[in-house]
Symmetry: C2
Subunit: 316 residues, 2 copies
Amino acid sequence: MATIKDIAKMTGCSVMTVSRALNNPEIVKKETLDKIRAAVDATGYVQNRVARSLIKGCTFNICVYIPSTLDATESFVAQTISSIGERLGNLGYSLSLRRKLVIDDNFDGIIAAGLNIEDEDEFEKASAVKPAVLYGNSERFTNWVDVNNYRGIYKMTEYIIKKGHTKIAYIGMDYHAHYVAQRKQGFLDAITSYGLEVSPQYIVTADNTEQAGFDACGRLLAQASPTAIVCATDLIAVGCIHALQRRDIKVPLQMAVSGFDGFGIENTVFPKLTTIKQPLYDVGVRLADAVVDSINGKPQKHGIYIEPEIKPGESV
Amino acid sequence: MATIKDIAKMTGCSVMTVSRALNNPEIVKKETLDKIRAAVDATGYVQNRVARSLIKGCTFNICVYIPSTLDATESFVAQTISSIGERLGNLGYSLSLRRKLVIDDNFDGIIAAGLNIEDEDEFEKASAVKPAVLYGNSERFTNWVDVNNYRGIYKMTEYIIKKGHTKIAYIGMDYHAHYVAQRKQGFLDAITSYGLEVSPQYIVTADNTEQAGFDACGRLLAQASPTAIVCATDLIAVGCIHALQRRDIKVPLQMAVSGFDGFGIENTVFPKLTTIKQPLYDVGVRLADAVVDSINGKPQKHGIYIEPEIKPGESV
DNA sequence: ACTTTTACTGATAACGTTAACATTTACAAA
DNA sequence: TTTGTAAATGTTAACGTTATCAGTAAAAGT
């Protein structure tokens, strides 16, 4: 494989001139530049990134840190990793997927996802040493990217209200996670800002599984009679739809049902689910951009919320 | 950040001895080794992979090549990328995601997925220069890893036959792709090897969408009366189940339905789909292992088929 | 006591590139 | 011509590591 020395020898100029021709073509005489470019084309020479890295003191490699508590093969995580990878690839960066955060000289920046509390301390230390970006909003940091869960549910609730519904229920999770609280708050705020009332029997708790959605829907119908159900996730919504079908309640005619996530299942349920699609591709792109910008001395001044869009189906 | 020189200075030995302590600890005197290890621990020194790469002539980076015809954010592709990444990370390799195949010194090996015919020529050239592994079986190469689609459908058909079904239909795709033909053949061979008959009206063609499955199921029921339907994909199976529900045909009581893929939707349909789960995680691991083995001079002698397993649901 | 072997350590150069400084060339102004 | 200046190019050293060869000290064999 040709090196810069070969090109220098072929063109009769010094390696330094070749280096300049590659990195600062505007300061090389056109004639020389043409000769060099011809030689580069003829040999198929490509800069050796390793040697370049050594002198430049950067690796063009990003550490993608995902604690082992998170399953990297889960569709949600995988799609994010994949879009980070695609963007980094376009920016000329490679990535190392790590399940432990060790700081060394082998990467230029960090993208971390799915951290829990104890991981955040580690992350803080790491981000003092290297550019680091977090997937998921946090009050401790400014360098994060997240989906705006609050706005997502708010928009969906608004959308349902504008369809004429006034008796709207919410089925969602109740464990300690930012996004869980944000989705619920989005619902509550939309309801009250449109002058509707929030009665406690219209709010039901369910884990993020189809079965839990199914059960929760049963409990909801026993204590209230809504015409629409806003679900915190698609899985819950799917369970919900099954529970309604079991009771011969037609969706969307007798009951509107909405989801949140849009990882694919919205298309496979009948009727097709009206949902809020998580913009995972955009998240990956922003994370990659953020870390590379940060490496290039343009750190993010504040967190970035990406607003998800409603993906209309037939269930509302 | 500490370098090998710092460790040498701290311990009073030469950088070469430190290097040996890190790479061939068994040839360094125990006493010296302990001193060096203590210094390494104290400083948090980690070998600089870039410098190591330069002298070793390898990069510890793998090119993951996915032609731009394939959507890298699609769940299927994303999960494979993600498991490749995880395995490579464990093996100490990083990866560069590329949408064009350019051969240079910046990676040690190639994993390619989703190639079409013209890409295969490129791949052949590349694999002459660098260790390269293909995702997807091919007669032109020996260095590939694939899911055994034939065995998957064969096992599922067998499973259904053993449940006592004799009138079994097949709904699948008909376009030119290895896996399409393999799935169909798996069905046909299972049927005939159990002495059952294959009548053409029991074989229906459908694209890989829910709607196509829905329509195909209608056509099937108009011309045949099976008690079980083997579908080439989960999407088709889901469409099929909806078509049956529409006609008040109970699944699995009056009709067994099976799918293939297991990307998640098998859980979100009611009843839960009995399907063949694509072992994407294993595929990623084998691809990563194969390329690293190949780099280390142990190239794969023949293609590897990974046998998928039946994931029982409630639809059979 | 001498050689031979073994175990361990060190000095130097190299990997392919770029930074920093030095030099040459070209050409305009004096 | 000479000088000054800008444009273009060259030289050397360095980045952090390991390969190669060379050495030393201790142990073992004669």
